[in-house]
């Protein structure tokens, strides 16, 4: 599946946006700095996944941070574009004035953490880390991140699949010194060579529990209509989530693609022949225990990438495989029970 996906030259673009824009778990130890929104884009073409993340803030003084699980090690971390996130939001939340504008691997158990890259972009200190969940958690704590009680489990959840994370620490004092004001943000663009792109969703619920609702908008741009796991309600996928709604499912407009490709660092994006999917996430925190696996090569999205199965040995687990495994386990238990009964009868 991986090679087929790359060979097809398929690209996808993912955005997390909306009223609770977020790309990673927010770690805000105090109320001095309020997160207005964070947003993330992920883009995939020719084996490279591009993330564009933007933070906006309110308040002054102090620091806060965010941790974003990544599908691989980025080979480029630079300042992101200017309007990509906003343009996508406009595309799916059309307003009157725009109506005429267009046609619509490290060991997860490892106790060591490897700092792969450190970079200052605007008021953000960006660190790319590779390590197990506990090691990354240790690093985060030692570097001033105040982790929430669910963080150990969530970090391990991701580290078993891809032990690469981006930690972003926002320095509000530095932002004030630079004259940044509320509503202004700094965007980050990461280029990540990988054969297995996926969209982190569970991390959005970090620090939230119970029936607190996590809302996000997810944009996909692919060369063909993608298969998703979990699928949105009514999609017919072998796992569906009522908390996912497919609000748009159509050929991307040339105006959208042209606008996006014209932004800084977005020249890789094809300007025609792309499929636009727009999903709205509206899930209770306790229910958001999955990510979004995507297949655009005619295969089956990976249950591992979706977070339904642990480990990294088998990335694609179609329903028949799960059925065989579950059936095999049940058969084994039945056989064991039958053997025990026969042994007792013989005795």
């Amino acid at each position: 599946m991986r090679k087929a996906m790359v060979a097809a030259g398929t690209a996808f673009l993912v955005g997390v946006a909306g009223p609770a824009w977020a790309c990673g778990g927010l770690i805000a130890p105090n109320g001095a700095v309020g997160l207005v929104k964070t947003a993330t884009l992920a883009a995939y073409a020719d084996g490279v996944e591009h993330y564009v993340t933007q933070f906006e803030f309110a308040g002054a003084g102090g620091e806060f941070g965010s941790i974003v699980p990544l599908p691989g090690v980025p080979d480029r971390v630079v300042k992101g574009g200017e309007w990509t996130l906003e343009r996508l939001a406009i595309e799916v939340q059309p307003v009157v004035e725009f109506a005429a504008a267009g046609d619509a691997a490290a060991s997860p158990a490892s106790r060591d953490v490897e700092v792969l890259e450190e970079k200052r972009i605007g008021a953000l200190d960006i660190t790319i880390l590779r390590g197990g969940g506990r090691a990354v958690g240790d690093w985060a704590r030692e570097n001033g991140f105040d982790l929430t009680p669910d963080a150990p489990e969530v970090l391990e959840f991701y580290a078993t699949r891809s032990p690469v994370f981006m930690a972003a620490k926002f320095d509000a004092t530095e932002a004030a010194r630079r004259g940044l004001d509320r509503g202004e943000g700094t965007s980050i663009h990461l280029a990540i060579p990988t054969d297995d792109p996926w969209v982190p969703l569970r991390i959005l619920a970090l620090g939230q529990t119970g029936d607190a609702v996590v809302e996000a908008d997810v944009f996909l741009l692919t060369e063909r209509q993608p298969e998703l796991l979990p699928g949105p309600a009514g999609s017919g996928a072998w796992v569906e989530r009522d908390g996912l709604t497919l609000a748009r499912d159509e050929q991307a407009s040339s105006s959208l693609l042209t606008d996006l490709a014209g932004d800084r660092g977005m020249g890789w994006l094809p300007t025609e022949g792309m499929w636009l999917s727009y999903l709205q996430l509206n899930e209770e925190a306790d229910e958001l225990r999955y990510d979004l696996a995507i297949d655009v090569a005619g295969g089956v999205p990976s249950a591992v990438d979706a977070g339904f199965l642990g480990g990294i040995e088998e990335r694609t687990s179609p329903p028949w495989l799960v059925a065989v495994l579950v059936g095999g386990l049940g058969l084994g238990l039945l056989l064991a029970a039958a053997t025990q009964r026969q042994t007792r009868a013989a005795a």
Binding site: V136, G137, D138, L147, P149, D150, E153
Partner: protein, 129 residues
């Protein structure tokens, strides 16, 4: 909780615990993913137990043993250190020990009151008697 489950809990504690020469039983409690294991214990009336708490998480925790009133005090308080029997801080990746003598039959609670930890479910129960 049924009597059978309490008996099972007591058996688990007995299996995990060990009495030293001082007659004090040692009970090991693991902390992982902001949960105590085991979270249900049974002790005898008047028994003294040495709790050994091993924190495998990358975040700090604490162990506070007491009745509901004690738990409430700690939930709203900001006590940075714990010096009373049955109360101890457990730094990330470390092990801490506290010893407690149980009194009359009944039940006590234990838990972590760092912000958000109790409501996350980081708590347990000790049955006495």
């Amino acid at each position: 909780m049924t009597r059978a489950r309490w008996v099972l809990a007591a058996a688990l504690v007995a299996a995990a615990g060990a009495c030293g020469g001082d007659g004090i039983r040692t009970v090991e409690i693991g902390i992982r993913h902001s949960r105590f294991t085991p979270s249900e214990l049974a002790v005898g009336t008047g028994e003294t137990v040495r709790f050994v708490l091993r924190n495998d998480d990358p975040i700090h925790h604490e162990f506070i043993l007491g009745d509901a009133e004690v738990q409430q005090i700690h939930e709203v308080g900001e006590e940075p250190h714990h010096a009373r029997p049955g109360e101890v801080s457990v730094p990330a990746g470390e092990t801490a020990v506290t010893t407690y003598r149980f009194g009359e039959p009944g039940a006590l609670l234990f838990g972590c009151h760092l912000p958000g930890h109790w409501s996350y479910g980081m708590r347990g129960t000790v049955r006495i008697g």
